[in-house]
Amino acid sequence: MSRNPLVREVPPTSWFFRHPRYMRYMAREITCIFIGAYCVLLVVGLQRLAAGPAAWEGFLLGLRSADSIVFHLLALVAAFYHAATWFNATQKAMPLQIGEDFVPGNLISGAHYAVWVVLSLVVLFLAGVF
């Protein structure tokens, strides 16, 4: 008698149910669908903008539907989730060594969050939100 190694196939379409961390990963990846769709919306917006004031107003009015609100909510969640995962990851992709020591990872991601908040506030301010 002899060897007969047992190969356990990974189920290609359902593997991510096996562990919560895989679900978190898939959630991160799926944000791209909403971001992508939202980018398409932006392109449409550009088209409307190019078409003149009436078209632009129509575009803004068109945003005011229940579907649009739901979509925006989803896109917002996706965008925030993406931002958080991205900022937390940067310290891994680009660790910073000063002398012997590495700058602690949460300092790096913390700096990202800070810049992000400031940038967002500036944009909101320029856009006249407050």
Binding site: E57, R64, S68, V123
Partner: protein, 113 residues
Amino acid sequence: MAKSHKPVVWFPFAAGGTVIAFCIPVIVVLTFLAALGHVPAGLSYEKMHAFAASGLGKLIIFGVVSLSLWSSAHRLRCTCYDFGLRADTLAATILYVAAITGSLAAAVFLLRI
């Protein structure tokens, strides 16, 4: 095995990921406000038009839109694979072409402004 040309698609993906993280949330907030009926002053036709008409404005808008599109397309390509879709070349072609088309469209519209 030959070295991969992945960097061609990966670099813009990484750049786009950063752009999405920093810029998209706040932009979504803006249009969300509009969707709720509180159109921010900055989204008026005059303001938007003026912004998009300036060279810098065009550059920013194009950068954000095209990189974000690219990043999303690339990530979707990987996600398709993760979901068990094994036709990677096909998925890549469709998605990248879509992203490029979207970017080109954005460029055309911007130039018309």
